[in-house]
Symmetry: C2
Subunit: 526 residues, 2 copies
């Protein structure tokens, strides 16, 4: 309990279940004709048949699990969109979903070369079409050759198609300048899938004590949700907002020492570049973390899905693997899982579900069990795997698609860099706001002050103050953000996460609306 | 324990971990140069650094989990393939993977219309290409309109793209002639994913007792693997081989009464058409099961992924939903989850990972929690969703692709029908074999007698007798099947599962080789 306490309680943030049932009732009550028949039928059904799976005997770990990025605020945003479609009058014309790192949904255009390869592997007849460039065809032929029966419709080996795993290892070698073994690569349906499959390994009580995993606060809620589901203790360590969301050794020590009374701390998660916080860790900071993990015998999970998203000219991405390797023994031999995704970077192919884990120095007996566990899910999607292949093996100088690819990539990253600055600058210009620079990733996580009257009003509504603020923002402006309480924050502080993904014009108008809303909000509760 | 006892112990079947490490050692020892350096490095590493995640503190549920379809036999088959590539001399030229329902890997050709739609949604520039038929373009435009930012690269709602969920509901309505609510449809990355997400809900101790779920024996090992992982008791009920693998009420009663002493039996899984057993349940048999489930207050999980694969002219697919509905109250109001997949049927698109669950009469509060739980994994792959869309909304009469599509589909199913008969007939002609007719699905599960000397030899090797037989078959002929002990069988009986998927010529030669092997085997151990 002392460890979960570190996470701001999410239970007051909004009640998913009751919101959902409320909506259902409302729409039923509002209806006529066949709907009222439905209600009667439902009432009759309820009277004659009691369900066997009820909220009382449902998996308790699922009940406590929260996933704010898709929580009640997002549900409400979806409802508002439908109301707008039906012609409802609102003070805005559209909902801006700044709650989720969903690049293409916000107008980013897919990289042509990726989609050409996907069309070719999916429908190989196109290999005869002269409109497709030769390098795309070469990629497609290589992937198809790696598939049984030369079809994307075949199951692959559970850790993925061998040639793609080899390309991933080569990509990592090129990135870090140190060896990578393709047999350590496990391709997955997005990074989330890979992360869950590694976290699952730690579910084990030793001497009656639960396992615990250290996660940053604020964190990406996949971690808190997964740890809840697996009944693993969340051991939160606070990122230092005053030091640009860096990790302090002192805080790591405080966190683990407090947690050790309750659980066996087995692993540490680090998100770099940070989500929701946007920081890029320095090499020195990573070295400190590695030393700490070594001293405490922790398995390191490095969430490095934003490795392409670095905007600050003074920042650089350092992989945990490289830093560990360069530190020499014993650090070089430590266990590490590093995660990467097709959903972020310059490609933003979220819906295709591609990603990988590189698992370093895992005990061979454990690795065999890990591979066995993923085999029951057969394999990850071949289109996701193919997308990953292009990302780790993009067009090379001299190949026909090279220039266009590099141009497309640079254009996305350059625009994100401008937007990162625009967002942080705007928030810093609003009264009561402070926002660290967005050095990397796709989010800003500003802190803001709320007047006591607003906090009181939130309390009355049974909501966390920042959730109260976010709901008001959504209803007034159509802007959908995620309250800081969904990620965790220092008690008494208020934050939210917004993506930097709306296209520049829309982002500008969103930020203008935001500033105006905030002025009105302060007036209302002053 | 009394419930798991019903499953033949899988532990003797083969030791995944030790086989794997053995292989690793062998290949290391066999190597020279850089490999011996590697060994030295590994030894040094082992001496200086002890891993923190070990087999001792690994998730115990993963350790006991088994997944025979991808077990040690398949690992060995993969090794043999590599040995053949390197020119090893064997009594055969290729490995025939009859272990897994992997249609395209065995030479089945993708349905053109499906792949045309996938090429169009993946690379929408092709919408201008006059070579693509208009109905494929219409499907692609509808899917793209359902995606945020009109891109497959966007996240979808967690239960899937609305328009595809609506098409699935329409497909079910057309199939059953009774209403289906699109909001009960949850699209998933293959049926396995959907099944795990529903089974997960039952993890809950009540009055200190573990939950239990009834599964058929023999069963598809996804169920045993998932229940192991979730620490849910497996409550096995035997299918009646003498009654064409039907379900007997008496056996269901025996099974649940025995299990009730140990656990709370919460749900029953029925696989229809059967895997690995190939039976198609009669309507009367389904009615009996429904009545049993109602009496015992069980949630029904109907694995109906082979609903298109019916070969016996006297058999017909009856969905659990339709049968329940037609039985009237209280059966009509019972909770049911039915599963479907893009991997089977006539399409066999295993690698694309598409499927769905239709969840009927679920308590609204539970459903809200279920939807919340899947939201943490964001969404299933958009290419898998698009594949599903084509399957539930195929070309209609009058549309340009209609005739070709129907021809492609009929040709696959007709050929499978012939092969189903060929396989059962051949096994029935071999001494000591008996095989029920393959009425549906993609597998035969023949029973065969083993001479006492062979059973003794297996014992000496620490293997289950049918695994011993299967390894010998693999090494002698290259044919890879799955021993019956991987699915469960009556104690003292021996079975294996083979797919009917090799193309007709190859299947004929495989069966010939099989018969020859068996004769030699009997001679060897007589």
């Amino acid at each position: 309990m002392s460890t979960t306490r570190l996470l701001s309680p999410l239970h007051n943030y909004g009640k998913f279940q009751s919101t959902a049932s409320l909506t259902r009732q409302k729409s039923a009550v509002g209806g006529v004709g066949s709907r009222s028949v439905l209600i009667k039928q439902n009432i009759r059904r309820m009277a004659t048949y009691k369900p066997t799976l009820t909220i009382e005997n449902l998996n308790p770990c699922i009940k406590v699990m929260e996933y704010a990025v898709r929580g009640p605020l997002v549900t409400r945003a979806g409802e508002i969109e439908k109301e707008l479609e039906k012609g409802a009058s609102k003070p805005f014309k559209e909902v801006i979903k700044a709650n989720i790192g969903d690049c293409h949904a916000m107008g980013q255009v897919p990289i042509t070369f990726i989609r050409q390869v996907l069309a070719l592997v999916g429908y190989p007849k196109l290999l005869d079409d002269p409109h497709f460039p030769e390098d795309a065809k070469e990629r497609a032929r290589t992937i198809l050759k790696g598939c049984r029966g030369s079809s994307l419709g075949s199951y692959t080996d559970s850790p993925g198609i061998e040639v793609i795993r080899r390309h991933v290892a080569q990509y990592i070698e090129n990135r870090d300048g140190i060896p990578s073994d393709w047999q350590n690569i496990v391709i997955s349906g997005g990074a989330s899938d890979a992360i869950k499959n590694v976290l699952k390994l730690f579910i084990c009580r030793v001497n009656g004590k639960k396992p615990g995993v250290m996660i940053p606060i604020p964190q990406y809620p996949l971690y808190s949700a997964t740890l809840s589901e697996f009944d693993i203790d969340q051991v939160g360590y606070y990122l230092d907002e005053s030091k640009n969301w860096g990790l302090s050794l002192q805080e790591l020590e405080r966190s683990i020492n407090e947690a050790k009374k309750q659980c066996n701390v087995r692993a540490i998660v680090v998100i770099n570049p940070g989500n929701p916080t946007g920081q890029v860790l320095t090499k020195e900071n990573i070295q400190e973390i590695v030393k700490f993990a070594q001293k405490e015998k922790l398995f390191i999970l490095a969430d490095e899905v934003y490795q392409h998203n670095i905007y600050d000219p003074n920042s650089q991405f350092h992989s945990f693997k490289k830093v560990m390797y360069e530190m020499g023994e014993p650090y070089r031999s430590m266990e590490l899982a590093s995660f990467m995704s097709c959903s972020k970077g310059y490609m933003g192919e979220c819906g295709l579900r591609g990603g990988y884990a590189e698992v370093v120095n895992m005990d061979p007996a454990v690795k065999a069990q890990y591979f066995k566990a993923i085999s029951a899910m057969l394999c990850s999607t071949t289109f996701g795997q193919s997308t990953l292949d292009v990302i780790v093996n993009p067009p090379k100088p001299g190949e026909p698609s090279y220039e266009q690819f590099e141009k497309d990539k640079a254009s996305v990253l350059e625009s994100l860099k401008l937007r990162a600055k625009m967002v942080a600058d705007t928030f810093n210009s609003i009264e009561g706001f402070s926002c660290n620079p967005v050095q990397g990733a796709m989010y800003a996580f500003p802190q803001f002050k709320l007047p006591p009257k607003a906090i009181e009003a939130a309390k009355k509504k049974g909501q966390a103050p920042d959730a109260f603020y976010a709901f008001d923002l959504l209803e007034s402006t159509g802007i959908c953000i995620v309250p800081g309480s969904g990620f965790g924050q220092q008690p008494g502080t208020h934050h939210f996460r917004t993506t930097i993904l709306p296209q520049p014009d829309k982002l500008k108008s969103m930020l203008d609306k935001f500033a105006e809303f905030h002025t009105q909000f302060l007036k209302k509760y002053s």
